[in-house]
């Protein structure tokens, strides 16, 4: 990312980079997850927070109890139909830029609750997902791997790091644009939420 400056040169102690890269680097290494859990995956998420696995090594130890201070929504567990509107509301309350990890089989695709009367078949029907972590539940190592992959994804994002949202309307536009892009990325096809992929 930075140009390497040889030791002893007059430029020593100076790194040259672009604002864009620096922002993305900072963003990727201080992902603040939202503190909420839906099912047994949340227990593994809590273990990931603990001293043994120590998610703080990757800059994500600050679990925020409010969506307004969080960048990352880890969806740990089964999203039932009653919870889906609430998950969507929490996601909408998070400020941009925001990222989502679907943790475990249930959040990724419904898991063991196939054809259930009460379970949403994957949280990607409700909110756009960046990284899917398989497992039932995934071990803390798997979640950490998912987090690192998200960090790579953020650093390699071709979009500029700074985008200005002038007012609320623009923010909503940004969100829908983002969802369309993510759908394109994952080749999900037309969403069940309505609307064609961009």
């Amino acid at each position: 990312m930075a140009r390497i400056v040889k030791s002893g040169s007059p430029e020593e102690g100076v790194f040259l980079t672009s604002v864009d890269k620096m922002l993305k680097w900072g963003r990727a290494n201080s992902l603040w997850p939202m503190q909420f859990g839906l099912a047994c995956c949340a227990i593994e998420m809590m273990a990931t927070m603990g001293p043994h696995h120590d998610i703080a090594r990757f800059g994500s130890e600050v679990f925020r109890a409010t969506p307004r201070q969080a960048d990352l929504m880890i969806v740990p567990g089964t999203v039932c139909k009653k919870m889906a509107p609430r998950v969507r509301k929490l996601y909408d309350q998070m400020p941009e830029p925001k990222y989502v990890i679907a943790m475990g089989a249930c959040a990724s695709c419904g898991g063991p609750y196939q054809n259930s009367y009460s379970v949403v078949q994957g949280v990607d029907k409700v909110i756009p997902v960046d990284v899917y972590v398989p497992g039932c539940p995934p071990r803390p190592e798997a979640l950490l791997d998912g987090l690192q992959r998200l960090q790579e994804k953020i650093q390699q994002d071709p979009e500029p790091a700074i985008r200005f949202a002038k007012d609320t309307e623009d923010t909503e536009e940004l969100t829908s644009e983002r969802e369309a892009k993510q759908r394109r990325d994952w080749e999900l096809g037309p969403s069940e939420l309505g609307g064609e992929p961009a």
Binding site: K81, K82, A84, P85, N115, S116, Y117, S118, K125, E192
Partner: protein, 213 residues
């Protein structure tokens, strides 16, 4: 003598069957006798209602498990036509759980109450078998005896469609109020999905996948 035996002796007139399953006493009664049995059980010292639940038995499943449920019995044929075959048996329908298999139309709903006594550590299970048709599937409430039964009965109503007569607030507890059907019934249609969305602070149901989740 355990508390459960006391109860069974006292309400003998309402006991249709008694049994011991997994070291725990069980009695089967009918909807008319349920209130007396439960009031007696509470007086005897069963101060905790662990849970209320139900088991759905459509007719074909009762027929498949008829012998196990006690609706049929193997008997030796008294006068075998073939005299050499003296051990011949025949399957005879018998009354069980207060029901004769011929009187069952659509099937039966087994409503189960599990009682516990904190002082004695005793268990007692009480079963009531009622018709499973939604309009006839009804038992009296025990929510005035154990306040905790209130939500248990609402749950059984929500998921199994059993109505509890005399319940102060007989409405769904988990699913939105306009949800169609009772999901834990064996004939619940999983092919037609229902979706939930929020409107004016209330959960609403739609069959349009684009409108809810």
């Amino acid at each position: 003598m355990s508390l459960a035996d006391d109860v069974i002796d006292t309400v003998q007139e309402h006991v249709i069957e008694e049994d011991v399953q997994k070291d725990k006493p069980l009695l089967v009664t009918d909807p008319e006798g349920l209130r007396d049995v439960m009031a007696e059980a509470q007086d005897a010292g069963f101060d905790h209602l662990c849970f209320v639940t139900a088991v759905d038995w459509p007719k074909d499943e009762i027929e498949d498990n008829a012998a196990w449920l006690g609706f049929t019995e193997e008997r030796e044929v008294e006068d075998p036509d073939d005299e050499e075959d003296e051990d011949a048996t025949e399957t005879v329908p018998v009354e069980s759980k207060g029901w004769h298999l011929d009187d069952v139309d659509d099937g039966l709903m087994e409503v189960v109450y599990n009682l516990y006594s904190y002082d004695e550590g005793d268990h007692l299970a009480v079963q009531v078998w009622v018709p499973r048709e939604v309009d006839q599937c009804s038992v009296p409430t025990v929510s005035d005896l154990w306040a905790g039964a209130n939500w248990h009965e609402r749950e059984v109503f929500d998921l199994y469609g059993v109505t509890f007569e005399g319940h102060p607030d007989m409405k769904r507890i988990f699913m939105p109020e306009d949800w169609e059907g009772h999901p834990h019934r064996k004939d619940y249609d999983l092919g037609e999905q229902q979706y939930i969305y929020r409107e004016d602070g209330i959960d609403k149901v739609t069959k349009d996948a684009g409108k809810g989740w």
